[in-house]
């Protein structure tokens, strides 16, 4: 049960990452590898501030802001300097590796003694219920774990709702159209380059927020924690689309959250069954490859071309 709760909680925390990747990949069609660096940046900033005794909410917000700046830099490299989007992301990700080490001062910052959102949440949960464990459908569950799960759920739902509302405003609608048809958006008087920078900042802000929360949940920030996370996000988005079967705005966001949770659960089950953790990234990459290629192949098999 602890395992299940843990997987659900991490899945929910990483759903913020999935929503960030959804913005860059589905709206702008940019596979933005800045993600790998900005999730670590968010974790690093939050961890260092928390270790120094900063208010956890402030530290988390600072982490998200750091990611937003990183995303904006990628956007500026891409639009103002006309560097290929993928390369812009690679440049910023590479630079962020050094930046992250500088922020943390070493390759790993533990948060065991620090007051974090997670430790606050555990305490609030225990004081509200007054018990260390509670009974859920016959399962005995640590109150602290349940409290963290609820907090992660709250964060995911809140972020998803804000994102949905944002994309229905005038700015948000123009941003979506930028990915859909930049020529038209320009002809209607919107600054396409500005929207790309803003969108990548929003995307990486969400990713870094996810990193900041993840660091507090797992109790440390690590320079290596971002490796392969963009692929993880892609996997979540793709699973989400398969689950909801829709490209509509609301369902895509819900799908990203559900995809992230489901993917994390699948990984937890696979690890439990004895999957070598070293193979995890390989499996993830293979999964995304299959998810990208299979729909086209299936369509071909179903409807053979007229020869």
């Amino acid at each position: 049960m602890t395992l299940l709760l843990g997987a659900l909680t991490i899945g929910l925390i990483l759903s913020l990452l999935a929503m960030g990747v959804m913005i860059s990949f589905r709206i702008f069609a940019i596979p933005d590898i800045t993600t790998d660096g900005s999730i670590t940046l968010g974790a690093a900033i939050a961890a260092v501030l928390l270790a120094g005794g900063t208010n956890p909410l402030l530290a988390t917000a600072a982490g998200a802001l750091g990611g937003a700046i990183a995303g904006a830099v990628t956007g500026i490299l891409h639009t103002k300097f006309q560097i290929n989007a993928l390369l812009s992301g690679i440049l910023v990700m590479t630079a962020l590796y050094s930046v992250n080490l500088h922020v943390m001062g070493r390759s790993n910052v533990p948060l065991m003694q620090a007051r974090t959102l997670a430790s606050h949440g555990e305490e609030i949960g225990e004081s509200l219920l007054g018990a260390k464990t509670l009974n859920v459908f016959g399962w005995s569950v640590a109150t602290s774990d349940a409290a963290l799960l609820l907090m992660a759920l709250g964060a995911a739902v809140f972020a998803g709702a804000v994102l949905y509302l944002f994309f229905r405003t005038s700015i948000g609608t123009a941003m979506r159209a930028t990915g859909d048809n930049p020529q038209m958006v320009r002809a209607l008087g919107a600054n396409v380059e500005g929207y790309i920078v803003l969108g990548l900042a929003l995307s990486n802000g969400l990713v870094a927020l996810s990193g900041a929360l993840l660091a507090q949940y797992q109790g440390f920030a690590d320079a290596q924690m971002g490796i392969g996370m963009v692929v993880w996000g892609l996997a979540s988005v793709i699973i989400g689309e398969a689950l909801t079967g829709s490209r509509s705005l609301g369902l895509t966001i819900i799908g990203a959250i559900m995809g992230s949770i489901l993917f994390r659960l699948l990984v937890a089950i696979a690890l439990r069954w004895g999957l070598n953790p070293n193979d995890l990234k390989l499996i993830t990459a293979l999964f995304v490859f299959a998810a990208l290629v299979l729909p086209g192949l299936i369509a071909k098999i179903k409807k053979p071309s007229i020869a």
């Binding site: 405003t169 979506r176 002809a187 008087g189 600054n191």
Partner: protein
């Protein structure tokens, strides 16, 4: 209203792909005029339109539009004054977004966009009425993705979007050329209606002689990046399609003569 002062543009200068698209075009268009730009392929007529819209910056010359020197304005800034319809019906609309959302974008043309709802009530009611007036049965499908519509429907909607907020200048770039004859006729009728209702200052590129004769009050004939003929007033009213074809033939003959003459000189003297 619109004033072009000896504008020049060369693409890929100094390479084998060098194209001297505009070679000193002077043109003044009055408020409320409907100008048709005619020309053969490569004559620079679309380039002229794109120069006005701001798709690229000029090599030299100046563009003034309703009292502003817009020569160095980026495309999105000029869009405050300009409404555009492209040749490709897919260019003017965002396919994965709904009809209503596309119009919400058009309704904010040239204004700073804020955090208000894109689909406000003040937009939806007039939008439904206007789209119903098209009689295409689209008023009940405002939430459908615009990509699910036909090219003719999309082009009609693009025209409405371009003129939703009255533009100071309307640019039409062969906007019926990619449509089937029936849709083209519909879009053309709508074009007439929209331009007539608001007496919009319009610059329309076409290669259809018939359209040029039937529409507008002035014809600009472009050739090799310059204005060859400027036909207006009574002469424009009398003009028939055959006259235009004659003028094009004259151009073609002169060019052949030029080339054969050059060939003859080369053969005799080199």
């Amino acid at each position: 209203m619109l004033d072009l002062q000896s504008i020049r543009k060369t693409f890929n200068p100094g390479t084998v792909n060098e194209v001297r698209a505009l070679q000193g075009v002077d043109l003044t268009i009055d408020e409320g005029a409907f100008v048709v730009v005619l020309g053969m392929n490569g004559s620079g007529k679309s380039t002229l339109l794109n120069a006005v819209a701001g798709s690229f910056y000029l090599d030299s010359g100046a563009i003034r539009l309703s009292g502003n020197d817009v020569t160095r304005w980026p495309e999105h800034r000029r869009a405050k004054l300009i409404g555009r319809v492209f040749q490709n019906p897919f260019s003017g609309t965002a396919p994965n977004m709904s009809i209503a959302e596309n119009f919400a974008l058009a309704a904010g043309r040239g204004q700073p966009r804020g955090l208000g709802w894109a689909l406000s009530k003040s937009l939806m009611a007039p939008l439904r009425d206007r789209i119903a007036s098209l009689k295409m049965g689209l008023e009940g499908r405002l939430d459908n993705a615009i990509g699910s519509l036909s090219g003719g429907q999309r082009q009609a909607l693009t025209l409405l979007m371009a003129t939703w907020k009255k533009p100071r200048l309307l640019l039409l770039d062969e906007h019926t050329a990619a449509l089937d004859p029936k849709s083209a006729e519909q879009v053309l009728a709508l074009t007439r209606e929209v331009i007539g209702r608001d007496t919009l200052t319009t610059l329309m590129v076409t290669h259809s002689m018939q359209q040029a004769v039937n529409l507008g009050d002035r014809i600009i004939m472009m050739h090799r990046g310059t204005v060859l003929h400027d036909i207006r007033g009574a002469e424009k009213k009398r003009l028939r399609a055959e006259d235009l074809i004659d003028r094009f033939d004259a151009v073609r003959r002169r060019e052949q003569l030029d080339e054969s003459a050059a060939e003859m000189l080369r053969a005799s003297y080199l």
